[in-house]
Symmetry: D2
Subunit: 340 residues, 4 copies
């Protein structure tokens, strides 16, 4: 049994990791912690765990965590991860970081988008981006995994086949993204008060969301050239789910069927990416509580325009279940263990 | 034109008062303020007011408020009202207080339920409870109006005809109340985070909500005997609306029609209470954005049990529009001005 | 492997049964059908099943169903079950009926509440009510299981310890129930149109809901006397979840702790009933997607009144997962298989 | 007093027209009808009108309608309007049609998008598109007004200043639109069942929505050249509101401030279009229950890309209140009467 710790167990993502691991036959949750006023039963914080876990959540005690875990999930805000990951790495623990701290390779860019200097340049280099569909082989060897952001997960998977096959104009990518409210984390903020979000719809951080450099870094790698995709996120009055509607120009006329075939082939062996048949596009509920990224495709022949619709559950493939998928890969467990 | 000030203009109730007064032909909003970091256009805080108001919201300046207003609405939390109302009253201004500070006549009870000693006993005595259907004549002369709580408004109006006609067992009253989330005010709190309320349902403060003594004080007056009604509120995943399902035993068998007739007669001249015909009960959307309290009645003959279903919009009849109704009464305006 | 069929696989309950059985190691879904215009892949109807099931849903073909199944779940409306259950029973198949057709023992009552004469009196006698916490032993031998209604499941479990221990006044039971919209099934109806339910709250079928006789039949058995509980359901703008707030008079003063102890003892060995500690009551999200019924208790000493708050997921313990729990019992599988 | 009839009074749009006209001082609702099983009080269909209207809703009786009305609003589905509008026009009544039947000038296009041949070519010619901000002068003389679709209203107003000033590449327009569920009308359909929409998000009719030719017809007129904008609508789990995020390339680099100035100038005298200051974009709640179209603008200098965010209330500026605005213009009433 693998001993696993969860740092940040009181957030939505932390809760989901606990939830998944409870059903994982090869894992024991050996440690949970969070920024918390006083130690509390995890089942008191999340009564759904009543009778299912017997864990006490206290503030992080690194020494204790190191002693009790083989691997830790860091389900904490950016800025925090880069302070604590080095300690776990030094103690030879596997770290799966769900914050943004180890995703950007360029620390100048990190400073620009996250507003502070990076404190752990050394480990950035060795961090592996935890998108199994693209980086599975490297993940197998990883000590530090930078688990992808929710918006980037959908965007990169939606565009990878088109970019690697060079069928699209890389200057033309527009990503109109929509997310449920859990994407913002679990924190007291008037902006996320129920009556501010319910029966309302808004665009935010138009073309200046901090997930943009992450998306562009990986799209650029896929296309082998610098990409600056346009990205506009929207907040939807629902708990969970991301839907991205992506507009991109085709280099030359290509039929819908050809493109669907291309995508199906690209993801042929991937258990968690589902490419839809012609005429169908995913809705967010199709992927609720799953590790799937669903992709639908449509072509406007006259305009040589490709529409890509991608859906994920932001707490699952966009965070917790993808983190567990990465863990499974690192330890050689069957990749869908706990994720069926 | 009456010059009116709104203290606490950035809350949901304050916003609604502004909204209503903008359509009121005999009123000018001459002052708005709120606890705020720095002065801000009201239309910046609530962009729906863009182009409709030209008011700057700053922290309370009592002197300035007194100079510019004939009447002030205090749309602030309890504890705050009793500190500022006396200053306005001393300056001979009319005060309509939407907090709980002047509703309870017994200051011991205030201390018990609100957790601190009352600081303005003097004015409690002269405060008039602003429920026009029961206290219209006194409201006409009032200097200080204690605008009723949202739950009490529905409960008292729902029970008044039954209690004054002595047809029910006063020991048997059970009020199962349900409210949308704006009832909690507009403040950052994890409990009211979107994803904590959406797709969830809970009872809270079971038989210990601070609106209980207010309800019981007025039910007791109506019945001329001490009443301790049972009261259980629930939080519903919607923005606005209160529905109360009330269970009370009949003293002796009485037909549904007799009781409906009794209620219709009781509220015959009231423009804002609508008693439904047999077989019908109100839903919250029937009263959305109105000053109405809708009441439906049903009788279980065998059990001699009366079911009363009452609906109000918590921000309207439960707060803002009832406050304006009270203002209209005090100044002799047509009672439904601005409220149609 | 047990071969299982699902009649009515396109409803919310049918979908949930499929969902659960896909994770059940001892079961194979060998047949699905529903009232449907033309045969369709189940994964086309519910795209979440894409790549997970390879089943075609067509109209019921009893012969085919009998050939391919050891057990059938009937997830169909009442009136339909009593027409098809006899055929499966005759063919010696186990039937777990999720409709109301075999719950009421008194066929006159069936006629009164469901508006038509019962067509299968014979099998009513042998039908076992599938509430494992009360009838586990009989379920083990059952051929025909009447899976409980959603409201009754919560009501009966919430009241069973109090009634069997004779601590409450059986004439005083008031059940104020609230349910999400999936409780109504999946069918086109203006009443369940999104914008009719969203941002609205209503009571319906006040004291005349068809689940009343079911509740009263089983409460009466528990109390060994005729009970006529008051029951008022409400429709809540959310997908899933039932919360029942129950008011009942204590025969004599009893402390909260004594009653909690009584309840904990009653459900001591039950894996799916969780009795809360003093001061806590369940919310619906605590039981979302679980087979749990959570119960919270509170006492008003002065009024000798007991408050019981019970929460279930209407599609799970209120329907699909309870049906699977019953299947597990019949076949001697571990009772929580597929339900963890 | 103008005598006004509403055909289709039981839909969301019809309800809203009644709502608005009840507050209109120069109008009397003299006739209401709808496709209905049997005649019913309007206040029975919409209990919010209890005590406010005394109208009976029956099936359309054209003769009676003609006798009692000077003007009729046709709040009916397409296909129906073109059958009844001619009768009212022949009787010299003013017709404001809220369906799509008189919006497209090209009847071949009508056939393509609405699936049937147009039956009233004659009146198409004289129909005036009721978008006051662009066609006010013509509306003044109109006998037949084609009230704009909800999506087109926002799209055309959002793009008009950019197109008429020729600052954008007309081949580059992408409209990513999001709408609440009332946009689909009030009809029983499984697709609009509460639990199908709640907690779900989907794109639909990707680049093939019937509002596309309407949008393109008017954008083309504004640009004096054929435009084929890309249009993808999404269904949002909320009742009301449309938000459109529009992506369009600038012909040459232009500053955000220049464009905002251009837009503010364009709509300078328009009471119902609000152009936001730099750094701000509208949310749907800013326009809820108003006749406003709010527009926010942002420029990506490097990519020479213009982002336009436009918000309307689909039932108001997108339907009912715009129809009343048109009526006000035709009759020379103050344009904002009933719409403040």
């Amino acid at each position: 049994m693998l001993n696993v710790g969860i740092v940040g167990a009181t957030g939505y993502t932390g809760e989901k990791i606990v939830d998944i691991l409870l059903k994982h036959p090869q894992v024991r949750i050996s440690y949970v912690c969070a920024k918390i006023e006083k130690a509390q039963e995890l089942s008191e914080i999340f009564p759904k765990f009543l009778g299912k876990v017997d864990l006490v959540c206290d503030n992080l005690n690194v020494e204790k965590a190191i002693k009790s875990c083989d691997l830790v999930f860091l389900a904490v805000p950016h800025k925090i991860s880069m302070e604590i990951a080095p300690m776990f790495l030094k103690a030879d623990k596997i770290v799966i970081d769900l914050s943004a701290d180890y995703r950007l390779k360029n620390i100048e860019e990190y400073k620009t988008w996250y507003g502070l200097a990076h404190k752990d340049k050394k480990n950035i280099e060795n961090a592996i981006y935890g998108l199994p569909e693209l980086y599975r082989e490297r993940i197998k060897q990883a000590k530090l995994i930078a688990n992808p952001g929710c918006y980037p997960t959908a965007a990169i998977l939606a565009l990878a086949p088109a970019l690697t096959s060079e069928i699209v104009d890389t200057n033309s990518i527009i990503i109109d993204a929509k997310s449920g409210a859990t994407g913002a984390g679990r924190k007291a903020s008037l902006d996320f008060f129920f009556s501010e979000i319910n029966e309302n719809l808004k665009a935010y951080k138009i073309n200046e969301h901090q997930h943009m450099p992450e998306i562009n870094q990986f799209l650029s790698i896929l296309a082998s050239k610098k990409i600056n995709a346009v990205f506009v996120p929207h907040l939807i009055p629902m708990n969970r789910g991301i839907l991205e509607t992506i507009y991109v120009k085709l280099n030359k006329a290509k039929s819908e069927n050809d493109i669907i075939t291309l995508y199906k082939r690209f993801y042929k062996t991937e258990p968690f990416v589902r490419v839809y048949d012609a005429g169908k596009v995913p809705q967010t509920r199709n992927v609720l509580d799953t590790n799937c990224c669903d992709i639908g495709l449509k072509v406007d022949k006259n305009k040589k325009l490709l529409f890509i619709v991608a859906a994920i559950d932001n707490l699952m493939k966009g965070a917790a279940s993808q983190a567990v998928q990465n863990m499974n890969i690192v330890y050689g467990f069957k990749e869908d263990t706990g994720l069926k």
